[in-house]
């Protein structure tokens, strides 16, 4: 027989310890237990656990248990939406909230950067220097496009120059 522990099938041993196996399977397990100290120890521990559970008695329920239980259930039902919402967060320790908050902030900043790359970008010293005469030519062209493109300024093209 293959070792149930080596083949990761402890349920066979559980069933054996609980006395749920048929005679033939139980006999093969017993043969295996004679030669396998690991399984033997496991079955012994399992048997001890069953034995402990057999002798354990649940403590008696207090007389007003049901009354207190129903009162508590009723209290839960009466919670406002805000209490229900905050209740889910209350047990969460600060060390779990902090990474979440930090992640949310980071996501917000990232999305803002993607949407408005110009807004947060500081001036780039030395990067993309523009010559003054280049600026002047661009201003000339912009003025030309502005004056001709805007209908109400065509009749007085020099009224609002840049």
């Amino acid at each position: 027989m293959n070792c149930p522990m080596e083949h990761r099938k402890p349920e066979t041993l559980v069933a054996y310890a609980a006395g749920e196996l048929d005679g033939e399977t139980a006999a093969s397990i017993e043969r295996h237990l004679r030669v396998c100290p690991g399984c033997r120890l496991w079955v012994a521990e399992q048997a001890a656990l069953w034995k402990t559970l057999d002798i354990w008695e649940a403590p008696a329920v207090s007389a007003d248990f049901d009354r207190r239980l129903y009162r508590r259930v009723a209290g839960e039902v009466r919670l406002s939406w805000w209490e229900r919402l905050t209740r889910t967060l209350r047990p969460m320790p600060l060390r779990q909230i902090l990474p979440l908050a930090a992640t949310a902030c980071l996501l917000l900043i990232a999305s803002f950067l993607v949407q408005q790359p110009d807004q947060l970008a500081p001036p780039h010293p030395g990067a993309g220097l523009v010559r003054a005469d280049q600026v002047e030519r661009t201003l000339d062209d912009l003025e030309l496009l502005r004056q001709f493109g805007a209908g109400n300024q065509v009749e007085a093209p020099h009224a609002d120059t840049m």
């Binding site: 992640t103 001036p123 010293p125 003054a132 030309l144 502005r146 209908g151 840049m162």
Partner: protein
């Protein structure tokens, strides 16, 4: 707890990927949105760099540029954006066509006021027409009779090359 840490990790990776791909996203925007003309780039330079460049020009001319940039920066955002987009289209024209636009607009400015209105209306009408109808109109006898040869030329040029809509 393990799941929370794992979720945070994934979220962080997603955020960092978004930041890292910023340039890609910007590059995928329409040309008008990513357009940065010389003035925008000038505005991105530090004040010291700007003054260093202006110092290379005569003081009077430098002052004029400062003043013109100030006026440009004071335009309402919508107008600045529209102008930026129009300039982007203009800047994409080959230099010789840019020069044609400049020359045509200057010629337009030199027209008598009463002719300017007519020319402008004609340009607006032509630009609204499909190409075939536009060409038919440009070669029509009516068109020739209404406008002088220089006017016809500037109408042709502006209709063909001037970027954006004429309001």
């Amino acid at each position: 707890m393990y799941r929370v840490i794992l979720s945070c990790g994934w979220a962080l990776i997603a955020a960092l990927t978004a930041v890292a791909s910023e340039s890609t996203v910007v590059a995928e925007k329409p040309p008008a949105q990513r357009a940065r003309n010389a003035i925008d780039r000038w505005n991105q330079m530090s004040p010291e760099e700007r003054e260093r460049e202006l110092a290379k020009l005569p003081p009077e001319r430098a002052q004029q540029i400062r003043e013109r940039i100030r006026r440009y920066n004071q335009l309402p955002p919508w107008e600045k954006q529209a102008l930026r987009e129009r300039y982007q289209k203009f800047a994409q024209l080959p230099p010789e066509k840019q020069e044609i636009v400049r020359r045509s607009v200057r010629a337009f400015r030199d027209l008598p006021v009463d002719r300017r209105g007519l020319v402008r209306e004609e340009i607006g009408r032509l630009r609204a027409l499909p190409e075939g109808q536009r060409n038919a109109r440009l070669s029509s006898a009516e068109f020739r009779s209404q406008f002088s040869p220089p006017e016809r030329q500037l109408i042709r040029d502006i209709t063909a090359y001037f970027p954006g809509q004429l309001k």
